[in-house]
Symmetry: none
Amino acid sequence: MRDLLEIQEQLLPDLMDTLKRRYTILHQIRLSGVVGRRTLAGSLEMTERVLRAETDLLKAQGLIEIETVGMRISDAGICLLEQLEPMMKELFGLARLEEKIRKAYGLRKVVVIPGDSESSPDVKRELGRVGARTLLSYVHSGDTIAVTGGSTLAEVAEQMTALAGGPLKGSWFVPARGGLGESVEIQANTIASKMAKRVGAEYRLLHVPDLLGEDAYQSLVHDQHIQEIVHVIRQSRIIIHGIGDAMEMARRRKLDDGSIDSLQKDGAIAESFGYYFSESGEVVHKMLTLGLRLEDIMRTEIVIGIAGGRSKGKAIHAVLKFGHEDILVTDEAAALEVMKEIETL
Amino acid sequence: MRDLLEIQEQLLPDLMDTLKRRYTILHQIRLSGVVGRRTLAGSLEMTERVLRAETDLLKAQGLIEIETVGMRISDAGICLLEQLEPMMKELFGLARLEEKIRKAYGLRKVVVIPGDSESSPDVKRELGRVGARTLLSYVHSGDTIAVTGGSTLAEVAEQMTALAGGPLKGSWFVPARGGLGESVEIQANTIASKMAKRVGAEYRLLHVPDLLGEDAYQSLVHDQHIQEIVHVIRQSRIIIHGIGDAMEMARRRKLDDGSIDSLQKDGAIAESFGYYFSESGEVVHKMLTLGLRLEDIMRTEIVIGIAGGRSKGKAIHAVLKFGHEDILVTDEAAALEVMKEIETL
DNA sequence: CTTACCCGGGACATTTTACGTCCAACATAA
DNA sequence: TTATGTTGGACGTAAAATGTCCCGGGTAAG
């Protein structure tokens, strides 16, 4: 398919440019939901007039609908975008990025979406959508799926929609580990239940704080109900988790200064499912809580990491070095940072 | 490929038009050999200036060479044309035409080239080239190929060039049937020998008139040399033949008025390899001469019919109805006429 | 040789299109 | 009600496309 485009480019030298431009516009409209001409022109850095010419064409082709409130992508437009996606990845060079990262860490699959989810909420939403799609493509009926907290995972849950093949009866969504310290919207429990509801699956929750004293831990660990749910969690076939900056997570979890200093001393860069990783991928600290343990993760069939944004580069690198990831979903900005880490090796 | 085309039609409808335009121009330059701007503008019905803009671009892309004598296609241009050909067939709707005709008569393959070979010598030349290429794609070393006469077959011979795989040693070109009545350039004998020479194959000729009296027939049929060559002819694995209008052929062969009347009465529409066919594909008359017989044709492995021009539509239909063709090579004008015949069934 | 013809490329006035930039009428949410 | 954002219309200007010549040069026929 690529060949054919290159052949055509001989006769139509500006083919690729136009293709990219129109795809980007259509894509952006989809990300934005309903958006006006000026706003769109601003975010795409185009003048109003040329954007207008393009959107007129898109409308004439039935790819978008224009109403008094703004422009919205049509079903045909969505269909077109999805068909075009692999090709555009090639064109934008994202496919190469994916492959390089995949090889560098020996992953099963890497998905890179264009943009920077830190600087654009639209891109973050897209990251969620792609993450959801990726996750669902691996889920079978009857699976147990462990999820972590975090804003990215919350977005994944938000973007999750039932599969074409009907609801996922008999599958279970569970939180990966305890974590009641965070705000409720981005708690693993909330996310697990939301995901389950969205795809018609079941869920079980684990109401355990993320910061346990030794005593509390001992008492919880012997609780009948908790033992039961922890057992389910540890059997997960799939885990999908966010990746965070170590210091930021430590602060968010309100660790005391001593712990933070100790983390810093140990070179903690990244945090994921309650473990802190150094640059070389070693676990330098772990939260004392219940749920998945390191050894569970190591033997989990499908581990999906998802994180985006330029600042996440080092953290992603650290977790990938850990070496038990299978799939990475990220954005262009983070992927480029990860590439830098790869190159300095 | 079809998918890609549909996507492009949706997102780049304007570019597809210019793609068509530029392809047509490049194609026409190839057909014309060396041609000037004004002449080309005339035959493509464009104004000089817009053609000039296009040819400037084609030159900048290295697809044509512009010299003081005129414009000529470059190697890169030929390469491009050939790579783009299947796509353009889709774009121009020729692929659909081919498939419909193929299915309607249960043929193995149908090739339709754009244009009308009756109104343009260039298109006729192209028909010859495509016919030659099609024929050669089926020839193996050691085959015997029977050819008929006619201006189209003469053009095929003219356009035939040795294959990339070297000369066709051990293959034989032979005339399908006797036919000394026509002018020498379009006689089967001439064509067979020219084809053989062009591809480095052997040939044998059959010097027998196309109109024999019963006595002459009987004496020739017992001739040792003639028996020998006729035997070779009847063993042909491949036959390539033109298709003509019955009345026109009858006149060209200088049949007497009585015979012509009788042909007309029997509803003869088409003529091919010495047989006259009615609209329903039945043989209503045959020439008394030597060479391939109907039963030979019926069991010939590969029967290639080639004919172009708007007026040939009915004749082609008649021969295809006969039901022993495998491959048809024709032009757009004739194909559209054939389609009409199909639709009236 | 001459002559008639066709060639590419330069030139230019004119038309058409693209573009940037406003504005008016309308819808929506606060 | 007000503030904001939307579409579609409008318009002057800049840029590109176009139709139409012309010129010098090369070709082939006479």
